[in-house]
């Protein structure tokens, strides 16, 4: 695995949430490069190396952190497209969102999300959650071999 594959893809449209998540990564000492995309279509462009991301190369991120409420194509739509494509069908994907609506959780898992984490309002709790996520998905978890 090369360096590019250590990238975390953060799919998040809210600037504040991007800033807070990046801050949480930093404070959790997660050193992985983070690529941020702002909507569902851009997320798929990034993953499938097309459109604005056509020249980036075919390397996949090591983890996708996906918000559900996104402009253009929402998080569930992104997840569905990812799982339909052989290359990204096993890519570890964590849904990180405000909602804990039952329908979202069920839909997320049915479409093949690996985790569903709710963003707490309390930033201290959020920090804790990101830290655990990082340890689990970037250190403990054995990623599937590239397809």
């Amino acid at each position: 695995m090369n360096e590019a594959s250590k990238t975390i893809l953060l799919v998040e449209d809210n600037d504040d949430d991007v800033a807070l998540t990046l801050r949480a990564f930093k404070r959790s000492h997660l050193m992985n490069p983070v690529a941020v995309v702002r909507d569902g279509v851009e997320a798929l462009d990034f993953l499938f190396a097309r459109g604005a991301h056509a020249d980036k190369g075919a390397a996949l991120p090591t983890l996708v952190i996906l918000d559900l409420k996104l402009p253009k194509l929402d998080g569930l739509g992104v997840l569905k497209a990812m799982r339909a494509e052989a290359r990204t069908s096993l890519l570890p994907t964590v849904i990180l969102t405000s909602s804990k609506e039952e329908q979202d959780v069920i839909a997320g898992y049915s479409l093949g999300a690996n985790s569903y984490v709710r963003k707490p309002v309390d930033f201290a709790e959020f920090l804790e959650a990101v830290k655990i996520l990082g340890i689990y998905w970037l250190a403990l978890n054995q990623v599937p071999p590239p397809q």
Partner: protein
């Protein structure tokens, strides 16, 4: 025409026919009796006439006194018979009176013959006169006998005729009754059985939900009335059902809107709070050393308020969820549930010393998840409001109240003034200060909502400083009733 009228007419016709037959039989009986009587009478007359003839012959041949005497006796008998004539019509009585006249003539002639012979003269003139008288008398007697025979025959004919007439009338009556019976059966089929079959079909159709079924029976009788009432009822039901469907559609739309509203709230309202809390903390962490105590306190307050707002939103969403959720009625073990909740409360606050008593084997029929939410809220309240008493006790059990079994959760904590009890179950209503007992005021509103969904009643009893008791009546009910209560769920 009403069925009642038709039935009355048919019964009257039947009865009339039967009475006609009975009357004709009675009439025939009287006729036959009369004819028999007349025949007997005539037979007697004929026999008497025959006797007179015999004695007359004997007298004319032998001139004996015994014969003369006998003629007198027979004549008297004949006279008695003529004195009480038995006749059934004018012709017969005319014939009888003619017979009587002939009898009298014959008797007079007999007397004359007797007188002539008694005179003892023996001349030719006398003999010829006597012979003439005798022959006239014999002819008369012969005539009478023939007429009497005729009367006997007439009576016999009359009997035969009457019998034939009775047979005819009875047969005719039976035919009329058969026709009437057939007509009645046909009318019964057409006017009663047919409509009843239609009604039966209609009740089945309407019961199966075919609201557009109409009998539309034009008949003016009682069953026609029933059919018209039935149609009216179906129409009323259909209208009510349609209205219900419209309201139901509205409710479904409303519920959808509420759902999307909750969804938006869940996603969008919390996000700014996260920013407020996160960036306040960032300020504190990054620039805390450059800020004075007051500035740090302000930032802490912003954080506390954001977090509180987050909790409020969560609890409101929880309340909405309780309203929306579908009920899945099953057996719920309240005792085990209470034990589990209290244990987890104790685990979360290990420094608290709270004693609890739970009645064993308390079971209710309800939705497991919703009942758990209600019990969680009640026990968390009991836990919270006993935080300032030394010997905290929480009790969960059942007791009789107004003849019904109620479940209760009681504590010996802060309690509340019953004067404010009506505000207890409203959302965001609080009877204590936040600094004494933290909370959002949504908990009891949620409990109330759960009870309402189940159709259970919820009540409370408390006194300030003497603890509070919340009780609910878990009435048995079928699953359908709960769903009717919540048509758009």
């Amino acid at each position: 025409m009403k069925i009642r009228t038709k039935a009355t007419v048919a019964a009257a016709l039947m009865l009339g026919t039967m009475m006609l037959i009975a009357a004709s039989i009675a009439w025939a009986d009287a006729q036959v009796r009369k004819a028999v009587e007349q025949r007997r009478h005539c037979v007697e007359i004929a026999s008497a006439l025959n006797n007179i003839r015999m004695v007359t012959f004997e007298y004319l041949l032998n001139r004996r006194d015994r014969a003369r005497f006998q003629e007198q006796v027979v004549w008297e008998r004949l006279e008695r018979l003529f004195a009480n004539p038995v006749a059934f019509d004018a012709a017969a009585s005319k014939m009888l009176s003619s017979l009587r006249g002939q009898g009298e003539d014959s008797h007079r002639l007999f007397s004359e013959v007797e007188a002539t012979s008694g005179a003892g003269s023996d001349d030719e003139v006398q003999r010829r006169f006597e012979a003439q008288l005798s022959s006239r008398m014999l002819i008369l007697q012969q005539n009478s006998l023939v007429q009497a025979e005729q009367l006997i025959r007439d009576a016999g004919d009359r009997i035969d005729q009457t019998q034939r007439r009775v047979v005819l009338i009875t047969a005719l009556g039976l035919v009329i009754m058969a026709v009437l019976t057939a007509a009645t059966a046909w009318l019964f089929r057409r006017d009663v059985l047919g409509p009843i079959a239609r009604l039966e079909l209609a009740t089945r159709e309407v019961a199966a939900g075919n609201w557009s079924f109409e009998l539309d029976m034009g008949s003016a009788d009682e069953l026609g009335d029933v059919a018209r009432h039935f149609d009216a009822m179906t129409r009323a039901l259909r209208d009510a059902f349609n209205q219900l469907q419209v309201s139901n559609r509205d409710l479904v739309v409303l519920n959808k809107e509420l759902e999307s509203f909750s969804y938006s709230v869940s996603h969008d309202l919390r996000s700014p709070l996260r920013s407020m809390d996160g960036f306040s903390l960032a300020l504190l962490e990054d620039y805390g050393d450059q800020l004075d105590e007051e500035a740090r306190d302000s930032l802490q307050r912003i954080r506390a308020a954001s977090q509180r707002m987050g909790r409020l939103i969560d609890e409101l969403l929880g309340l909405a969820r309780v309203t929306r959720a579908d009920l899945r009625i099953q057996d719920v073990d309240l005792s085990a549930m209470a034990e589990e909740i209290l244990s987890s409360l104790a685990k979360a606050e290990p420094e608290r010393r709270v004693r609890w008593e739970i009645e064993s084997d308390m079971r209710v029929r309800g939705d497991h998840d919703l009942v758990a939410i209600a019990l969680q809220n009640l026990l968390a309240n009991a836990w919270k409001f006993t935080s300032k008493v030394a010997d905290a006790v929480v009790r969960v059990g059942t007791r009789e109240q107004d003849g019904e079994r109620v479940c209760f959760v009681s504590d010996n904590g802060a309690g509340f003034d019953m004067a404010y009890a009506e505000r207890l179950f409203g959302a965001f209503q609080r009877l204590h200060h936040e600094r004494d007992f933290p909370g959002t005021g949504v908990g009891l509103a949620t409990v109330q909502r759960v009870m309402h969904r189940h159709g259970w009643s919820l009540g409370a009893h408390a006194a300030l400083g003497q603890g509070a008791t919340f009780y609910f009546r878990p009435t048995e009910q079928d699953d359908e009733r709960s769903e009717q209560d919540h048509p758009a769920g």
